[in-house]
Every structure is written in structure tokens, then in C-alpha cells.
């Protein structure tokens, strides 16, 4: 082995530092081509297979340069691209340039069927090259790539050819001069006649795009050196751009201006300067005189729209919604540079008007893709399948946004299916909410127990665990529940106290840390429940069978056993791994009936009664501490069996005692576990907290209910709970619930955190009024619980070995951040799924319903319709763009109401109104549907629609049901 040394210079932290590293060159780096006689590699990744492109007829291997991976990763990911030699030079450059692409490349490399081989050319004696005098690092790398191609060509001699793929013309020229085969991706892909879709997937880099409207340009972005200077001296601000969901031309970042954290507004596409939702941008503030004074000025510039291409204004049917909130000038600025792009593939559909070719044309043409997420601009792509793709949902990636193009350039990735189809739309919403939903990979499935369904509790496990199979344990869940996380039991002890046990499925027995299964579960983070579908976090075999605590089978559990006095005071608590055998899997109803039926005297029922008695005491004590009872307007769809179409909306059932029973003990288990793990891992426990709400939001709410004569106190959660209980109008039963719903919206999100990063007083869970809280009881559907199980096991079993993940504060916090993100996304996805089904439900119907005003806007108001649990905007002016001479209602900022200019009616918060619900199907050529809500009563000329429409009028007997269809929600318990 020959070893020699190279020297590398590097700079760190801004100041130039010379770093000298050793660089060994070796002779034992093999080519990894099968049937190579000169190399002695044990495993050959590159296979000699017949060519599938027309440009070369013999077997070949591909070497691609860095830019190719950066711009055309979608093509590289395509299954038809095989036998690629990834040079170390390229591999390392990619890692420095883009982590997401690097990770995608790594995923391809690990898939052995693809034949991607990393050739360590930088450490190979014959392919290493020093940088020449006056040669730029890029040129040196290009030369190193060519050198490696050359080495491979001579090494392989005649068995196979090596192609250099590069979109850099100069590089190809040089390669040809050296006698190498070099092609552009386009040439290569065009030769692959079996895969015509590849051509559409070619990335749109600036150089193969003819630029169109020269008169239109964005401002040039500043260089990164300028930006970092500006950030240092305080003239620029940085933040993640978030665009309003109501108005795609209104963006903002959170930044610290003059010592306070404020929102900086960026208005209009020109000032957003090619930044996209989620990008980290650098912002320059306008002088104070140009700051936004009142939100009234948040109107789209006429000029801005005039710049648009024909007919676009019509399509932007986004409602300009403006809120009257503050009168202080809001800092306003413009984007002058982009620090980090946060692009992902976007779902969308082709805008019909931009397709020009005839229906048989297969010429490639430029079309605009309208993204499903309104905050994302349209994307220009080049495709030959425009005709085929019309009416379909497609996935596109953004490649670049040159300054002289109004819209970003992108390329087609794949088609998802026809618009309006339920499966397609479900897939769209999963993609848009970044929910990992592919089937589990073989590697993950191989981590399941080899016995599969036949797996049984064996002798070893019985010996190591507490045998609780003789106890009368049962589970209580909603009907049709297949993943049973938890089971309970209670019995009297000889000393007069009670023993209560909560038994949680022992998922960590099957999901070992670091396994592929574990990593997959960690990335998924949570099971996602959609209306018609469930996206599991762990494979069904575990979730619904081996872990699930079904009745009458032996199952492994993690048990939490309390000794309690008759007053439900905890005397001691014990945690243990156990084997249980549930005696019965009950539904809430069944359990309730057992408790109520006084004739039943069996042990199981007696246990349930005991649990119920203790739960009531625990509940009362919790309310005493100030736990909140909040609400959300939730409904469930009844689905037709075959088509899975929603046929009716069912209200959520009233909360039964048994419901509260289970909840009470789960809370208790979570709190007990939290106290235990924090005692052993004070710095690295995974906990869950719920910060108190910001006062300003509750203040607004308090103000608006003062008109009904109620006060809202919110100093402590106890005060809030009390005043919520008092605020009830006898003849309007829904009022209280509405108030609770609105209070819920003022709350902060409950979040996971790592205990080492927060002070003790920040551990507080406001909604539950608990000083400490974590998640322990649902390991089948939440990854956080899996971590907590591992922490708890490390606490109780001193012999247990655990990896550093459990003690590393930074890793734990990173995990928490990831999980928080996944949970929010899962919630949003679930909500979109409800919205999707609502739209399907209302298709072709016109319903009249009662609603309540929940928010007043400048040009409309938001109505909540309890019957369906939906919320929508009633617009006072049809579009802010069409210059309606006089709006029928005028916003009155003093009373926060909309006053009619023609009659004496005003619309205020909490008003009861009658509305008509229809589906607006014709938006954007039928590609987008929207719930349309129009005012019926009170009748305001110009705003309300004419009363006698078609459709059925639901009689007021529905009103009786209104009160019941709100599920009391435990805030993110």
C-alpha cells in the first residue's frame, strides 16, 4: 500500500485557517465491475448489462458530474438509470452543496438493485490529481472526474464502455479531446426510447430555456458575502418567509427589529423577489415613512396584476382578506437575497389556457402549473404530455427562478391521477403535508419477528417479566379500533387500598433502537388518521396484531401499577414490563352498559366500577387544579361501504363516563411516567408542555363577549375554566361551546421538548394544569411514546443498556422538533381530508343551515356551521380586484362589526345567521373546488342571496342536535 500526503487548505468561522490533513492514496480501491479479473473486490455492484439507450449499443457505465446530480436528481432517481459510478469528488461536492440531494443520492446508493457504486477516486493512486497552478477548484474537480473516467475506460478495456454525462459543454469538449465518450443528459435520455417520460423530467436549467419577456425583471439578489455583512452590521434581517394563506401576495418574516420581535411584511411579488414560502431570506427594511400604516393598504397593487399575462387576474380568485388589528405602522421591507431555498416537490395541475398544441401533438411546450398550495407561485414546466396531463394532478419540482422570468422554472416529476378522484386527492394532501406514506420497505419488514403472525410469548419473556395474566384486565376503545394501545385493571388489595394498573402495548420490545424499523418509525413520527384511510407509523403486523392488546391472547405490556387509597391518593407507583392477557376488548358503550347494569357482578365489571369511582375523584381533583375543558367543532363522516363516499355526517358522540375514565387514567400514567423519567434523566427527558396563551388574543375574546355581559378572566387556567363555565346563555346552548371553541384557538400548541433545554417552570402543561407531562400511552401510533418507553425502561432496569440517543440533549431536542413538525402536519392533513370529504358530500347539494359568526374581517366574516363542523368565509365584496362601487357593508373598527349601509343591520361576533352552502365547482376549469357560503338571514341587500333557492331546507329539529355534535376535546392530550 503506497501512502502519500496531500495538503488541503480550508477556512473556518470566517477567519482563514490553514488546515493540514493527511491524504492517503491507495492501490486497493477496486472497480467493482463484475467479472473484472484485475481487481479483487468481493462484491461487485456494477453489472454488465445490455444498453437501454440508443446512443451507445454496448454495455456501459455512467459517470455523472456534480451539476447533473444537483439539477437532474429526479432523473437519476428513475429506476431505468442503473450502473452509475458515483465519484467521490462528486459525492463530496454534493454534500457541501445540498443536504437534501445528498440524502436522496445516499438512498439510491443503498439500494443495491440500482447498481450505484461510490468510487473513491480521490484516494486512488492513479486517479488522484493535484490542483494545478491558477486552476480553480471547480476546474480541478472536473479534471479529476475526467481522469477517473479515463482510468475506468482503460481499466475495463473492452468489456464495457464508460460514459461521462455532463451538461457543461466545455467539459464535454475537453473529455472528447481526451478520447472519452461524453454526452449531455438530454442526449442520453432521448436515446432511451422505452422511457419517454424521462424527457419531461429533465430539469429546466437556465441555459436551455429561452427567455421570454425581457422587459420584466426582478431585482438581482445580493451575493452571500453582501448578505452576511449586512446581517452582521444590522442593516438586513433574516427569517423564514411565510406567506399568508389568504393572500398569496402578502408575506412576512419574524425578526428582531430594534430589540423587539416583530413581523416584517413583504407585499407584492416584486418585493418578494422570487422567494417562495419557507425560504430563508434576507430582508431590507423600507424607511419608516413607507411602512404599512393601516391594513387597509394591504391591497394588491394594480400594476402588479397588469404585469401578469392575459387572463391571469381572473384565475387568482383568492379572496383578499384583511384584518383590522393594529394601527401602529408595521415594518415593511423587501427581499434582497435568499440565504437558503427550501424547495420541495409541489402538487398542482396544468393551466388549460397555457396548453397550445393540438390534442395529438407530442411536441414539447411550455405550460404553467398551478400549485395546490396557494402560497406557492405557478411553476413553468416544459412537457410533451401536456394533452395527457390535463385534468390530472401532477407533481413538479422547481429548478430555478431566473430574474427575468415571472414564474419559477420547474420540471415534471410524475402524474398522480385524475383530479377529483378521491385516491388522487388523498395522495395530493399527503404529499402537500409532507406525510411519508409509501409502503414499508423490505428492509423495514425484515425487522419484524420472523414468526410473523405465529409469534407467541415465549418462556424467556415470561421469566423476565411480571406475569399479570391472571388479572382481570380489559381494554376500552372506540368501536372498530384495531390498534389497542392500552388496557386497564383495578382490584382491592388486602390492606384495603386499591391497586390500579394501566398496561401499555410494549412496542419497544419489537422496535429496537437503530434498526431500520425504528428509523422508519422515527421519520414517520405518528400514525396519520384520514377520513377514509390510516397511514401507519409501524407495520400493521405489529400495530394491529402483535403489539395490540387484543382480548384473550398473551401480549407483552409495559405496566404502570399504582396503589391508591379510597380517595384516589397515590400511595406508591411501580413500573414493570409484564405479560398480560386482556379478558375483554370493550367499546365505550359496552363498558358503560356493564357499569350501569347492576345485575352484573363479575370481577371484571366490579373492576370497571372501581375504576369509574376513582376516575371521578381524579377528574374532580384535576378540575380543582384548573384543567380546562375545551372544544372543537368535529364531525365524523359516515362512509358508504364500497365507494367510501361520505353519505352522511354523524355528530361526535357525547362523552360517556367510560370515555372520561380511560382518559383520566391515561393522564395519570403519563404524569407518573414523566415524574419517573425526569428523576433519572433530568437533562434529556422527552416531555410535553403547553405554554399559557398569549394574553392579547384572549383579551380580544374577552372584549367581544363583554357585550353579552360575561367576563373572561385568564390570569390562571383555573380562572379561565371558571369563567368559561359561567358564560352560558340558557336559550342558546351552543353559545358556551362556541366560546370554548374560540378559546381553544387562542391557545398555544402543546409541544414536545427536551427537559435539559427549559427551566422547571416551563414544564407546565397549561391545559391539563399539570406541572409535568409526557406521552407514554400510545406507542403504536406515536414515536414520542416509544422514546419515553425506552427512557422508562432505562430508569427501572439498571442492567439495561441504552445508546447515547437517550442522554444526548441536542439529539433529543432535534427529535422533539421533528416530532412536533410531524404532528402539526398530521393534524393539517387530517383537516384537509375532512375538507375533501366535505366537498364530496356537498357536491350537487344546496343546504341551508344555521351558523355562528366567529370572526369579522374587513370585507367579510367567517361563519362556523355546527351541524357539519365546517367554517367558511362569507364575502361582502365578490373580489377585491373588481372595483365594486360600494360594498353593502362597512367595517366599523370601534364595535368590530360590519354595518350595512342600506338597512339597520350589523353583523357582530357570535351572531347567529342562516347561510346557504354550495360547492363552487367551476373554479379554474373544474380543477379546484371550494365551499361557497352565502348569507340568507339576516337579509342585507347586496350581500345576502335570494332566499328561496332550490335544495332542501333543514328544519329546526336539527337545532336540537346542534348542541350535541361537538366533541369535547382534550387539548392535544
Amino acid at each position: 500500500m503506497l501512502r502519500s500526503k496531500g495538503f488541503i487548505k480550508r477556512t473556518k468561522k470566517g477567519n482563514a485557517v490553514k488546515v493540514v490533513q493527511e491524504h492517503y492514496l491507495r492501490e486497493d480501491i477496486w472497480c467493482s465491475v463484475e467479472s473484472c479479473s484485475q481487481c479483487s473486490h468481493t462484491e461487485s455492484i456494477l453489472r454488465v448489462i445490455p444498453s437501454n439507450t440508443k446512443i451507445v449499443d454496448s454495455p456501459h457505465f455512467i459517470v455523472a458530474d456534480t451539476n447533473l446530480f444537483m439539477n437532474q436528481i429526479d432523473i437519476i432517481e428513475h429506476k431505468s438509470i442503473r450502473n452509475v459510478i458515483v465519484l467521490q469528488t462528486v459525492y463530496e461536492e454534493i454534500r457541501h452543496l445540498s443536504l437534501p440531494i445528498y440524502n436522496r443520492l445516499k438512498a439510491i446508493i443503498s439500494d443495491t438493485s440500482r447498481g450505484f457504486y461510490v468510487f473513491s477516486n480521490e484516494h486512488h493512486r492513479e486517479t488522484y490529481t493535484d490542483r494545478l497552478k491558477d486552476e480553480s477548484p471547480n476546474d480541478r474537480n472536473d479534471r479529476a472526474i475526467r481522469l477517473a473516467v479515463k482510468w475506468y475506460s482503460t481499466h475495463l478495456n473492452r468489456t464495457a464502455k464508460v460514459l461521462l454525462l455532463s451538461d457543461d459543454v466545455a467539459n464535454r469538449e475537453k473529455a472528447k479531446k481526451d478520447g472519452l465518450l461524453a454526452f449531455s443528459v438530454r442526449q442520453y435520455v432521448e436515446g432511451m426510447v422505452d422511457f419517454p417520460e424521462l424527457i419531461d423530467m429533465l430539469g429546466n436549467t437556465a441555459d436551455n430555456q429561452e427567455t421570454k419577456n425581457k422587459e420584466f425583471t426582478y431585482e438581482e439578489h445580493l451575493s452571500s458575502a453582501h448578505i452576511s455583512n449586512g446581517l452582521k452590521n444590522g442593516s438586513l434581517y433574516q427569517g423564514s418567509l411565510s406567506i399568508s394563506t389568504h393572500n398569496y401576495l402578502e408575506g412576512s418574516i419574524m425578526a428582531n427589529v430594534d430589540g423587539t420581535d416583530t413581523q416584517i411584511m413583504i407585499l407584492g411579488r416584486q418585493y418578494m423577489n422570487r422567494a417562495i414560502q419557507g425560504d430563508i431570506v434576507a430582508i431590507q427594511l423600507f424607511p419608516r415613512t413607507e411602512w404599512l400604516k393601516t391594513p387597509t393598504e394591504v391591497i394588491v397593487d394594480e400594476e402588479e396584476e397588469n404585469m401578469s399575462t392575459n387572463g391571469e387576474a381572473k384565475e387568482n380568485n383568492n379572496i383578499e382578506v384583511e384584518e383590522m388589528l393594529t394601527s401602529a405602522p408595521q415594518p415593511t421591507g423587501k427581499v434582497i437575497g435568499i440565504i437558503k431555498r427550501n424547495w420541495r416537490p409541489y402538487c398542482g395541475f396544468i393551466r388549460k389556457q397555457t396548453v397550445q398544441g393540438s390534442s395529438t401533438s407530442t411536441l414539447s411546450e411550455n405550460v404553467l402549473v398551478i400549485t395546490m398550495d396557494r402560497r406557492i407561485p405557478f411553476i413553468r414546466i416544459r412537457t410533451r404530455q401536456a394533452q395527457n396531463l390535463m385534468g390530472q394532478r401532477i407533481l413538479v419540482s422547481i429548478d430555478a427562478w431566473p430574474k427575468d422570468s415571472k414564474y419559477p422554472m420547474g420540471h415534471f416529476v410524475r402524474a398522480l391521477g385524475s383530479a377529483g378522484d378521491k385516491d388522487t386527492e388523498t395522495q395530493v394532501l399527503l404529499l402537500e403535508h409532507d406525510v411519508p406514506h409509501q409502503d414499508f420497505s423490505l428492509q423495514v419488514l425484515s425487522d419484524l419477528p420472523i414468526e410473523r403472525e405465529a409469534w407467541k410469548v415465549n418462556e424467556d419473556q415470561l421469566r423476565d417479566r411480571m406475569d399479570l395474566r391472571n388479572l382481570n384486565i380489559c381494554s376500552i376503545d372506540p368501536p372498530d379500533c384495531t390498534d389497542i394501545d392500552d388496557a386497564l385493571h383495578a382490584r382491592q388489595l388486602p390492606n384495603g387500598n386499591y391497586e390500579v394498573g394501566v398496561h401499555i402495548a410494549d412496542v419497544t420490545h419489537f422496535v429496537k433502537p437503530g434498526s431500520a424499523l425504528d428509523q422508519e418509525a422515527a421519520t414517520r413520527g405518528t400514525t396519520v388518521y384520514l377520513v377514509n384511510k390510516r397511514i401507519d407509523m409501524i407495520p400493521t403486523l405489529l400495530g394491529c396484531n402483535l403489539c395490540s392488546l387484543h382480548e384473550k391472547v398473551d401480549r407483552l405490556a409495559f405496566s404502570c401499577l399504582w396503589e391508591m387509597s379510597a380517595d384516589a391518593d397515590i400511595i406508591q407507583v411501580n413500573f414493570t414490563k409484564s405479560v398480560i392477557s386482556s379478558k375483554a376488548s370493550l367499546t365505550y358503550d359496552e363498558a358503560q352498559r356493564r357499569i350501569d347494569d347492576l345485575r352484573m357482578k363479575d370481577d371484571l365489571t366490579e373492576g370497571l366500577r372501581l375504576l369509574n369511582k376513582l376516575a371521578k375523584k381524579l377528574h374532580a381533583r384535576r378540575l380543582e387544579r384548573g384543567a380546562l375543558t375545551l372544544a372543537s367543532p368535529e364531525v365524523r363522516f359516515q362512509l358508504e361501504n364500497d365507494s367510501q363516499d361520505p353519505v352522511d355526517v354523524v355528530e361526535m358522540k357525547d362523552l360517556k363516563e367510560t370515555n372520561a375514565l380511560v382518559e383520566e387514567f391515561m393522564l395519570l400514567a403519563n404524569i407518573s411516567v414523566a415524574q419517573k423519567i425526569i428523576s433519572k434523566f433530568p437533562a434529556s427527558s422527552l416531555l410535553r408542555h403547553h405554554p399559557p396563551p398569549t394574553e392579547s388574543k384572549l383579551e380580544n375574546l374577552a372584549q367581544s363577549i363583554s357585550q353579552f355581559g360575561f367576563t373572561l378572566k385568564y390570569n390562571t387556567s383555573k380562572d379561565l375554566a371558571d369563567s368559561l363555565n359561567k358564560a352560558a346563555i340558557p336559550n342558546e346552548p351552543y353559545f358556551n361551546k362556541l366560546l370554548r371553541i374560540m378559546t381553544t384557538r387562542c391557545m398555544m400548541q402543546a409541544k414536545y421538548f427536551c427537559s435539559g433545554n427549559f427551566g422547571k417552570k416551563d414544564f407546565l402543561h397549561y391545559g391539563l394544569a399539570s406541572e409535568i407531562y409526557t406521552h407514554f400511552t400510545s406507542p403504536i401510533r406515536r414515536y414520542s411514546d416509544i422514546i419515553v418507553h425506552r427512557l422508562l425502561e432505562a430508569c427501572i432496569n439498571t442492567n439495561s443498556v441504552y445508546s447515547s440517543e437517550l442522554t444526548d440533549k441536542t439529539k433529543m431536542q432535534k427529535l422533539c422538533d421533528g416530532l412536533n413538525y410531524r404532528y402539526v402536519m398530521a393534524q393539517l392533513a387530517a383537516r384537509s381530508s375532512v375538507e375533501l370529504h366535505t366537498n364530496i358530500f356537498f357536491k350537487g347539494k344546496t343546504e341551508k343551515e344555521e351558523g355562528f359568526v366567529t370572526r369579522i374581517l374587513k370585507n367579510g366574516f367567517i361563519v362556523l356551521i355546527p351541524r357539519y363542523g365546517i367554517e367558511g368565509i362569507v364575502c361582502s365584496s365578490k373580489s377585491s380586484l373588481s372595483a365594486t362601487p360600494a360594498s353593502p357593508v362597512v367595517y366599523n373598527p370601534h364595535t368590530n362589526s360590519l354595518d350595512s349601509s342600506l338597512c339597520d343591520i350589523s353583523i357582530k361576533l357570535f351572531n347567529k345567521v342562516m347561510v346557504q352552502i354550495t360547492i363552487d365547482e367551476d373554479l379554474v376549469g373544474g380543477m379546484r373546488q371550494k365551499l361557497k357560503i352565502e348569507l340568507l338571514n339576516p337579509y342585507i341587500p347586496g350581500l345576502s342571496v335570494n332566499n328561496e333557492g332550490k335544495g332542501s331546507v333543514r328544519k329546526s329539529d336539527d337545532e336540537n342536535r346542534l348542541s350535541s355534535n361537538v366533541k369535547r376535546m382534550k387539548i392535544n392530550v
Partner: protein, 243 residues
């Protein structure tokens, strides 16, 4: 922007070594005339000079131990040993800790009771630093002590090993050391296989410990061969000069 990849898919480390390979070692005893024994050793880019004086009369009466020799180890980093020039105080606790580790390593090996009321000074200077201070200090000190003719039970050879993900790796350089991977330093008496120093930085899963320990021991034995050869060659030169 991202953390460095310590092992690439081809199984190579940042500097091109495989997981179980040592860096290149060059060593030479008797490099200083003034000292009673001396040695210079390079392990990759870490370079160390050792000088041994003694057994001689202690400078301070308080250091006299009546039944054996006092072993005194002093370690210093040259200001130019790292890319950022920086002078380290003699009282730097990290340096004192390493010096005391070296001292403890040699105390059971040197036959100190042959020289009561005397002192053996070991001066160590790191000329260039690229990770693995403890191991190079011990290896340099061994050579210098042998060169000085101080009677010892055996060589003492030291080597580090770490663990990236699940792969045990030998002889970490500075980049690898600072990547928060666990690092185990082992010093053994190569002929008997006895361990005289075992030092661990960061945490290592107990299941991995044995394989890492075995690898480090293998490393020590490989280093022993190199040191032994160099000393024998040097002796041959010296004896041939005599004749």
C-alpha cells in the same frame, strides 16, 4: 455546512485510511545529544519529541522518595503545533492531566526501586498536533527511556480506537477526535499483554466495548513492532560505529 462523513460508502475514512489502519509511523531514537535518552516519533501529522534525563539527583529535596526514584513527566505543546498559533500555560489542566496519565502509565513499568532518592525526568514536546496526544506521548517516552537505558519490565505501547456508528476504527486523527465519537486510549505491555492505561472519552455502548478494545490492542501490538525495529536498527548502527 454538514458534518463530515467519517466513513464513506467505500469504507474509507476522511484521510483515505480503512477503519483498521494505523497512520504512518516514523520514529527515531537518540536524536538529542544533551539528553540521556531521546526519541522523535511521528504518527501521521502528530509529531512528538521526548527527552529523558536521569536517574539523577532531584532538584528539590521535597521530591526525594527514600525507596525509589521519582518519575517526573512534563508535557508541552509547541506554540506552532496547531494552525492557530497559541501559547499554552504550563498550568493548563488538560496538559497536566495528560502528563499525569503518562506518569501513571510508567510507574509500574520502570524499575524505580533500583534508584532510591533519585529522579527520572521525562520531557515531552508536541511539535505538531493532529490528534492522539496520549498515545504518542507514551510511545515517545518508551523509546526515550529505552534509549536512556532506564531499566523497564517491557515496552509500553499505546494506541487509540473509536467507534463510528457501529464500526470500530483505529487511531483517530484530530478531525475524527473532534467529531464527538467515543475514543478509547489503551496502553499495554506488548509481551505480557497487560494493560497499564485505559482511558475513555465520551460514551461507548457496552456491547461495542470489547471489539473497540480488541482493535486498540491490535494497534498497540503493531506499534510495538515498529518501535522495536527502530530501536534494534539504531543499536545496530551504534554498535557498528563502535567497531
Amino acid at each position: 455546512m454538514s458534518r463530515q462523513e467519517l466513513l464513506n460508502p467505500g469504507g474509507l475514512r476522511i484521510d483515505g485510511r480503512r477503519a483498521t489502519e494505523l497512520r504512518k509511523i516514523k520514529c527515531k531514537p537518540s536524536v538529542l545529544r544533551q539528553a540521556d535518552g531521546s526519541a522523535y516519533i511521528e504518527q501521521g501529522n502528530t509529531k512528538c519529541l521526548a527527552a529523558v534525563y536521569g536517574p539523577r539527583e532531584p532538584r528539590l529535596k521535597s521530591q526525594i522518595i527514600h525507596d525509589k526514584a521519582n518519575i517526573n513527566v512534563e508535557l508541552s505543546y509547541a506554540p506552532f503545533s496547531t494552525s492557530e498559533r497559541k501559547r499554552r500555560a504550563k498550568t493548563d489542566k488538560r496538559i497536566l492531566e495528560i502528563a499525569s496519565a503518562v506518569k501513571q502509565t510508567f510507574e509500574p513499568v520502570i524499575l524505580a526501586n533500583l534508584f532510591p532518592r533519585s529522579q527520572i525526568d521525562i520531557y515531552l514536546q508536541i511539535l505538531q498536533f493532529d490528534g492522539g496526544t496520549v498515545q504518542i506521548c507514551i510511545n515517545a517516552a518508551t523509546m526515550a527511556l529505552i534509549d536512556a537505558g532506564v531499566p523497564m519490565r517491557d515496552y509500553v505501547c499505546a494506541c487509540t480506537a473509536g467507534c463510528f456508528d457501529k464500526q470500530p476504527v483505529l487511531d483517530l486523527n484530530n478531525t475524527e477526535e473532534s467529531s464527538d465519537s467515543p475514543e478509547l486510549t489503551v496502553a499495554i505491555l506488548p509481551r505480557s499483554g497487560k494493560v497499564t492505561l485505559l482511558q475513555m472519552e465520551s460514551r461507548l455502548h457496552v456491547e461495542k466495548f470489547e471489539s473497540v478494545m480488541n482493535l486498540a490492542t491490535e494497534g498497540c501490538k503493531a506499534i510495538y513492532k515498529i518501535l522495536d525495529k527502530s530501536i534494534r536498527d539504531n543499536m545496530k548502527d551504534a554498535t557498528s560505529n563502535m567497531i
